[in-house]
């Protein structure tokens, strides 16, 4: 076993003549338990040691990801040699200089030792619907970080379950995501999923038209996750953003505020520092409907004439935890405000015709409940939300007080979302 140290590798790269180097060694142990039809289908453990190394000479830079640790010296030499003959990147403006001070973070070590199979079994047992399927993860990472300018270490752990309960003609989805074992509640996730499955029996075919949509936290988080590339400066610069050219402009209802927060205690993607070593922070993205910031690393910030938001990705800046601010209403308030609408509880397959315009469609799945004159009156199926993301954000009309942290297979980044009421959204259905 090769003894690895991020600072040693950075020093070694410097001795080979690079100007800047970053090394992050992640030692990860994860457990996964998958289940379906009320049975455990497979239980797994993943053990990985990854070294992500970045080296730059002038404007030339390259990154390499190593799992074959025995070849680390050879690959480092290969990468440094490559730098001399590769093309310059005019958009590379260096990495953050520091030095930085990092705050302390708590990491719940008990997650790494959790009885994943037992916790899964409890969730299965809690299901009151005919059947349940899903996955439970425990993740634990030790991070050893060094750059030419700074050093740090971090420990991260989280636990999450995603489950879908099904009846003969209906289903519901529930999740629980937590940075601590004590706040994890797999039983509640299973109960939530079961409850939705039972509430949506006998769905009728949905009808096309314009509806007010009340999104549950799971559904709205999943929808937003599908468009989060739009806030990364890298993708904005690629023409792959419906926020392109809109900094300082109104892009959503004044009721809508969204931030990235890399340091919140209970955020499952919280971290002490980003991949350049910059201490993470809270960055407003949309404040009361106005687009305030994209997410940046040092290079994209320089290009856009601003400061890094501590969201490196050495290549593309990426979110950590996304938080949509709550409003002042209860869920019952929001339901009561809907005359002709639908409560949508989950969605998937959000796809764009054109990333710049934001024209998209997405397919609600699981329980879709019909709301008429402020009351839930039945369930529907087979509908598609076919609209425009900017129009949808502009039509946000109400948000519940409390948020839930959502992260699952179709929601790549953790999003804290409240219930969100959006007026006048286009629904289509199959024509044949």
């Amino acid at each position: 076993m090769v003894e690895l140290s991020a600072s040693r590798l950075v020093k070694e790269a410097s001795s080979m003549g690079v100007d800047e180097a970053v090394c992050q060694i992640i030692n990860e142990k994860s457990q996964q338990v998958r289940f379906s039809r009320n049975e455990i289908t497979v239980a797994k453990e993943f053990n990985t040691v990854n070294a992500d190394i970045f080296v730059a000479k002038g404007n030339r830079n390259t990154k390499f990801t190593l799992q074959n640790l025995e070849k680390i010296e050879e690959d480092m030499k290969r990468a440094v040699k490559l730098l001399d003959k590769m093309q310059e990147s005019k958009d590379y403006h260096g990495i953050a200089h520091g030095p930085f001070e990092y705050r302390k973070r708590r990491c719940d070590m008990s997650i790494a030792q959790a009885d994943a199979v037992g916790l899964t079994h409890e969730a299965i047992e809690a299901c009151e619907a005919e059947r349940i399927a899903g996955v439970l993860y425990t993740r634990y990472q030790e991070v050893d970080f060094a750059s030419t300018f700074t050093e740090g270490s971090d420990e991260r752990a989280y636990i999450e379950i995603s489950c879908r309960a099904s009846e003969k003609d209906s289903s519901g989805h529930g999740v629980s995501c937590s940075a601590t074992l004590k706040d994890f509640n797999g039983v509640k996730a299973a109960e939530d999923a079961s409850d939705l499955a039972k509430k949506s029996h006998n769905p009728v075919k949905g009808e096309e038209g314009h509806y007010d949509l009340l999104f549950t936290p799971l559904c709205f988080a999943t929808l937003m996750s599908g468009g989060l590339y739009s806030v990364s400066a890298f993708f904005v610069d690629s023409g792959i953003s419906f926020f392109y050219g809109k900094i300082g402009k109104k892009v959503a209802s004044e009721k809508f505020t969204m931030v990235n927060d890399g340091m919140m205690e209970n955020g499952i993607f919280s971290t002490k520092f980003d991949k350049e070593g910059v201490p993470t922070k809270r960055t407003p993205i949309i404040k009361e409907g106005v687009l305030e910031n994209f997410l940046h690393n040092t290079s994209t910030a320089k290009k856009f004439g601003t400061e890094t938001t501590a969201n490196a990705g050495l290549d593309a800046p990426e979110p950590q935890n996304v938080v949509i601010a709550g409003g002042g209403k209860s869920t019952d308030d929001l339901v009561s405000e809907v005359k002709k609408g639908l409560l949508v509880t989950n969605t998937w397959y959000t796809r764009f015709q054109n990333f710049m315009t934001g024209d998209f469609s997405t397919i609600p799945r699981d329980a879709i409940l019909k709301i008429e004159d402020g009351a839930i009156t039945g369930a529907v199926r087979n509908i598609r939300i076919s609209d425009n993301m900017l129009r949808l954000l502009e039509n946000v009309d109400g948000l519940s007080r409390d948020q839930e942290q959502i992260h699952w297979w179709e929601c790549d980044y953790p999003v804290f979302s409240p219930y969100v009421l959006v007026k006048d959204i286009n629904i289509t259905t199959s024509t044949k």
Binding site: M1, R34, S36, R37, E39, I40, A43, K44, E45, F46, N47, T48, V49, N61, T62, K63, F64, T65, Q67, N68, L69, K71, R78, A79, L82, M86, Q87, S89, K90, D91, V117, I124, G134, C163, R164, H173, E208, G209, F234, D237, S238, G239, I240, R351, Q353, N354, M356, D359, F360, S361, T362, I363, R365, S386, W409, T428, T429, S430, T431, K432
Partner: protein, 468 residues
């Protein structure tokens, strides 16, 4: 790769069944954005996983620390997890009885990838398109890998393979008079740099840009009344993949992917059920030479073969691995694929396509009084039982009296699976395959696949979805 470590893993196992898979990979990802080399990332990976069955419980563990101590740990852990699962389950997981093979195969690189300045090639491609009218943004993501696998199990299988693979995703944005159109194009194949050169991107990409520009300048609305739709091989391919290949994956049918990629409108009793016209035949074949989804043995050591999923409009065969083959009592047809050493083999497609008919492409158009020719697509999606789908045309044209007319702006084909398949009334005679990456599994495993078919005509389709 030290294959002895895989044998050591099996020797340590006390399971009813055990398999070990080792992989080694070297690769590159390069991203060129608007004429600038933004990302140049080398990958060097290796590792080993062990999958075991004990008392009907399935356990899996992986490591990239390849020494005996780590391997002892993963074997013990996989067994412990299998026992813990078995203790909670009422039904036992099993594997179908299959013939085991010893084999070795390799795809050569005629022009070695590492000898090529691949980032310069991408920059040259970017520069080649620079002068195209209206083209404002160019983004190219190139990937290649040279992957070696070694697989053994306790039933005697031993498979070695080495497959180099290249892929390119291009996202191009054209703006004219404040309106924009975009395309996301994916290309891929197996082999060395000669495969990339064979994609003819210096000819194909400028043509794609011109198509977008023409739509912005001359595009007309799709007809609102029901008309004939002629779909091109790209649209036929995505349809075959999404609404035939996926719903006929046996693990979906059994609910194993329910909370992630979903289930299926098909149930185990539906073999022989008619879901389309007699002209609909859909095949799945991993063994097509040069194809993006190519393999000769799957990741359970089963010999790959062509599968006829739909025959004359009837469901003919599901895609199965050994686990679903055991559960459904039908055996495996070699559909188990794992996309990395630390991923379990699950049921996957390889190359899925509508089979050819006896029309020519010209005949399809000449016979059409009023319709739309939808050659390619932009946005697409489908529900999680694979029944309600939508494909929005990228390159599409009006057809009137057998003649191709002006481009149509983003026609929307929003139909059910049976609605689509039962509407097929003519099929052309030439198949084209397109590369794609299929997402499934948890953690997600992006599988290289291809999909395609011939030009096909669908009768009486109302475009545009049913808009409110």
């Amino acid at each position: 790769m030290d294959e002895n470590l895989a044998h050591y893993a099996l020797q340590q196992s006390k399971a009813d069944y055990a398999e070990a898979r080792m992989e080694e990979l070297r690769g590159l990802q390069a991203v060129v954005k608007n004429g600038n080399l933004d990302i140049y990332q080398l990958a060097s990976q290796h590792g080993l996983s062990v999958r075991v069955i004990i008392d009907g419980g399935l356990g899996f563990a992986s490591t990239n620390t390849l020494d005996k101590e780590s391997i002892n740990h993963v074997v013990e852990k996989a067994q412990k997890l299998a026992r813990a699962s078995a203790a909670r389950n009422k039904e036992k997981i099993g594997l179908s009885d299959e013939k085991m093979h010893t084999a070795s195969y390799e795809i050569p690189q005629k022009k070695n990838l590492e000898d090529i300045d691949r980032s310069q090639e991408l920059l040259d491609l970017n520069n080649h398109l620079q002068q195209e009218k209206g083209l404002v943004f160019q983004l190219y993501q190139y990937t290649d890998e040279d992957r070696t696998k070694y697989y053994i199990n306790t039933e005697g299988a031993e498979i070695r393979s080495r497959i180099p693979r290249i892929g390119l995703l291009a996202i191009l944005t054209v703006i004219e008079s404040n309106n924009s159109e975009q395309c996301q194009l994916q290309y891929g194949g197996i082999g060395g740099w000669e495969t990339f050169q064979g994609l003819n991107l210096f000819e194909r990409l400028p043509e794609e840009v011109r198509v977008l520009y023409r739509i912005l300048k001359e595009g007309v609305k799709a007809p609102s009344e029901p008309v004939s739709i002629i779909v091109g091989p790209e649209v036929a391919g995505i349809t075959a993949h999404e609404s035939c290949g996926h719903p006929l994956e046996a693990d979906r049918i059994l609910g194993r992917e329910a909370a992630q990629a979903g289930e299926s409108f098909v149930n185990p009793t539906m073999i022989g059920t008619t879901i389309g016209s007699e002209l609909v035949n859909i095949a799945e074949d991993p063994t097509i030479e040069g194809s993006y989804g190519y393999y000769l043995y799957d990741d359970e050591g089963i010999k790959a073969r062509k599968r006829m999923l739909i025959k004359e409009g009837k469901i003919n065969e599901f895609l199965s691995n050994r686990e679903t083959g055991y559960a459904l009592n039908g055996g495996s047809n070699g559909a188990a694929r794992a996309m990395a050493f630390d991923r379990e083999p699950i049921v996957r497609m390889a190359n899925t396509y509508f089979c050819a008919g006896d029309y020519t492409q010209d005949e399809l158009i000449e016979e059409t009084k009023k319709g739309v020719l939808m050659k390619s697509f932009t946005e697409w999606n489908i529900d999680d039982t694979r029944f309600n789908q939508r494909y929005i045309g990228r390159e599409a044209y009006l057809i009137e009296n057998g003649e191709i007319g002006p481009p149509v702006v983003r026609p929307i084909l929003e139909v059910t699976t049976t609605g689509f398949y039962s509407s097929v009334d003519a099929v052309a005679d030439e198949i084209v395959l397109y590369a794609g990456t299929c997402g499934k599994g948890d953690p997600v495993q992006g599988a290289p696949t291809s999909m395609g078919g011939p030009y096909m005509r669908l009768k009486d389709i109302r475009l545009g979805g049913v808009r409110g």
